[in-house]
């Protein structure tokens, strides 16, 4: 099982005139096979934290290590390519592609062969039929688009899956199904970290809850 260690992580946002210290020394350990829910109020720094874990931004202070290797040593692009999958609240799918083609992008980047069949298979696992799989994603519903995003995250088969408010735009019924998919990935041995402002979501996910407050994780 993989182990992700966050050590004394600090991060400051600056607009040129003002500086805001968003993370004030975050320490945490995330293990494979477990699902974590980071909760906190808006502006508490939870999105910044998972952005750094997903290597979407550069680490300023502190370190993040996966199985003993620092992201800095691995390189952000390499880390994103091989070790972390991301699911966004806004789905972040490529709009001019079909659901299957979106999944194939990840499969291709991860170097998987037989992309088309595997994409159908993954989409089927998240409840997207072949007919819908061949539709442009902009013609799918919000829940379906989030399923496609999850299928894309699954396609990479990477040890870490992070999700930023993955159910924020979905109804309760769909939310439960989406959370079940994340749980299944955790059961598959991956480190799954979900960021949410909702305690209810954290409870429904049966996740280990970590609270973000004033730039620190408790």
């Amino acid at each position: 099982m993989s182990k992700l260690i966050v050590k004394n992580l600090k991060h400051i946002y600056s607009d040129g005139q003002n500086e805001v210290e968003v993370l004030r020394g975050v320490d945490a350990t995330f293990e494979g096979g477990k699902m974590y829910a980071i909760v906190g109020e808006s502006g508490s720094g939870k999105t910044t934290l998972i952005s750094l874990i997903a290597a979407l931004d550069k680490i300023q202070n502190g370190d993040i290590k996966l199985d003993g290797k620092s992201i800095r040593d691995i390189g952000e692009t390499e880390f994103r390519l091989k070790f972390v999958s991301i699911v966004f609240q806004a789905f972040n799918l490529i709009r001019y592609m079909t659901a299957r083609e979106n999944v194939e992008v990840e499969l291709d980047l991860a170097g998987h062969a037989a992309g088309r069949e595997r994409a159908y298979e993954l989409l089927k696992q998240v409840g997207i039929s072949q007919t819908k799989a061949d539709r442009l994603v902009q013609k799918l519903s919000g829940g379906e688009q989030q399923r496609v995003a999850i299928a894309r995250a699954m396609a990479g088969d990477k040890p870490i899956v992070v999700a930023d408010e993955p159910t924020g735009n979905l109804d309760e019924n769909t939310e439960a199904k989406i959370l079940a998919l994340f749980k299944a990935m955790a059961d598959d041995g991956k480190i799954v970290i979900i960021v949410t402002h909702s305690q209810k979501v954290a409870r429904h996910a049966h996740a280990i809850v970590r609270r973000m407050r004033d730039g620190k994780l408790t």
Binding site: R80, L93, A110
Partner: protein
């Protein structure tokens, strides 16, 4: 990964047909303009090379009129009497320069005068005027000679009287005042050896080959009976058809002329009869080789002979500079002697003037099109990239490398650009021909409007041959047709330049987005 990049490019192109269509139309229009201007420029260059090869292969040796003018002005400035005397061009100098390895041939001519003896000259309005002029000049000469004789007699008489005075004449050696007797002495004399004042009724032009006669080179003269002459044709000449008809002369006949100086008879054999289309041509002109012409000159005239219409024919026009340099080394004082070697630039300018303007215009259009293409395509790509920054952020978040994202944008442009370029292959030839011919016709018309009376004039008398030479130089038609064809070189240039433009159009706006971290792009904070 590369395969997926190509796939994304293809999907982006076909799933956004409006954007692709706009880019195809823009690249199509620009490719057409670029191909047309390239083809016109190429055609213009070819025509100019042809003109250069045809005209610039001839180097002329002549008096440097500008230098002579400057010398005359300098004389006036220093208070001396202004005088311009053309420097002599000796046969030795001409032959020495002709030894250059860069030459394939050379020519020069000498002009002599004689009086018809066994035949009568043809009367033309021109030679009537010339005869009147010669008569008037001869009268003036005789009058001046009489006056000079009188003056010289008076001088001698006066000098004799002065001599008598100094040797004790009426005043005596011990005359009043005791001052020395004044002595007057005149040593001035007059002579009339100027050949221009001793013209005969016939002109004998000596030139080393018939082909080099300026009228022949200008296409105005041809042999209608018999044959031409060359350096080896001893005493063989060609005469005009008018002169032959007037005297019932034919090829093989012998004619006799008398020299102007001592009226010695010179017998010449007619080897050919020529016809000329030039107006106001002196049909009493007899052409032979240089040695034949010299028979009408005195020994003094031959020793002081100055040849004219000296032309050197280069092996290759590209060797012009090397030839001029080699002559400069061998004859470093050529310029100081008031002589110059130059290329027939006026003919070249006349010939290529309109087409050169078309070429300049084509180049201007080409650069305008290139700059416009870069600006327009870059702006469109910039707008496109800005619209797609979200997609770029997604791809970066998935681990795609920046270079592959850049590659995707470029490949998309290559797809639409190639379609635009390929479409232009079918239309550019028509556009290039139409544009090229239209521009040239406009330039030719403009040229004609600016210079409505630009025709060579006729000059008689002593300067005739030189001016004919000059006329022959500028007696070239301007290029008024252009064969514009779009070929492989233009297509290769189009594709090369086109893809270069696309690369530039891709890199600038894309780098502006891709330099940011994925989070910055995805949150729209770049």
């Amino acid at each position: 990964m590369f395969k997926n990049m190509l796939k994304r490019s293809w999907l982006s192109s076909v799933r956004k047909p409006a954007r692709s269509a706009i880019l195809i139309v823009i690249t199509f229009v620009m490719a057409n303009m670029l191909l047309a201007t390239l083809a016109i420029k190429n055609s213009v260059d070819s025509s100019m090379d042809y003109a250069k090869e045809k005209l610039s292969g001839i180097v002329y040796l002549s008096a440097d009129s500008e230098k002579l003018h400057e010398q005359a002005m300098a004389s006036i400035g220093s208070g001396e009497a202004a005088s311009i005397s053309a420097p002599a061009i000796s046969e030795e100098l001409v032959a020495g320069i002709a030894e250059s390895q860069y030459l394939k041939d050379y020519t020069y001519s000498v002009v002599a005068s004689g009086n018809a003896s066994s035949f009568t000259v043809v009367t033309t309005a021109q030679n009537e005027r010339e005869q009147q002029f010669r008569g008037a000049m001869n009268d003036a000469r005789n009058q001046a000679r009489d006056q000079a004789d009188q003056y010289n007699s008076a001088r001698d008489e006066f000098n004799n009287e002065s001599h008598d005075m100094s040797s004790g004449g009426p005043m005596g050696s011990g005359g009043s005042g005791g001052s020395a007797p004044r002595t007057f002495s005149f040593n001035m004399d007059f002579n009339f050896t100027d050949p221009t004042l001793t013209q005969g009724d016939s002109t004998i032009q000596g030139i080393n080959s018939y082909e080099f006669i300026s009228e022949v080179e200008a296409g105005n003269m041809s042999i209608v009976n018999g044959e031409s002459f060359d350096e080896s044709t001893a005493d063989g000449v060609i005469i005009s058809q008018e002169l032959a008809n007037e005297n019932s002369l034919s090829v093989g006949d012998t004619i006799t002329l008398k020299t102007v100086s001592d009226e010695a008879e010179v017998k010449l054999s007619i080897v050919g009869i020529y016809q000329t289309t030039s107006e106001n041509f002196d049909n009493n002109t007899i052409y032979g080789n240089v040695e034949t012409a010299k028979k009408f000159m005195t020994a003094e005239q031959i020793s002081n002979l100055s040849v004219s219409s000296v032309r050197y024919y280069l092996v290759s026009a590209s060797q012009k500079d090397a030839f001029l340099a080699s002559v400069g080394e061998r004859y470093p004082d050529l310029a100081d002697d008031g002589l110059k070697l130059d290329i027939d630039d006026s003919s070249y300018q006349t010939m290529v003037g309109p087409i050169e303007n078309v070429g300049s215009f084509a180049v201007t259009i080409m650069w305008v099109v290139i700059v416009a293409a870069v600006v327009i395509i870059t702006l469109i790509v910039a707008i496109n990239v800005k619209d797609r920054r979200y997609e770029m952020g997604v791809l970066l978040s998935l681990g795609a490398r920046r270079v592959t994202i850049l590659g995707q944008i470029f490949v998309e442009l290559v797809i639409v650009g190639t379609l635009g370029f390929l479409a232009s292959i079918g239309t550019s030839q028509v556009l290039a021909s139409g544009l090229g011919e239209g521009l040239l016709a406009q330039q030719v018309a403009s040229n004609e409007a600016d210079n409505p009376n630009e025709t060579g004039g006729q000059f008689g008398g002593a300067g005739r041959m030189m001016m004919r030479g000059t006329q022959a130089r500028s007696n070239v038609a301007e290029i008024d047709q252009i064969d514009v064809s779009v070929g492989a070189v233009q297509y290769l240039t189009l594709f090369g330049a086109g893809y270069l433009i696309l690369i530039m159009a891709t890199i600038v706006p894309s780098i502006n987005i891709l330099r940011y971290q994925p989070k910055t792009i995805l949150t729209g904070k770049e």
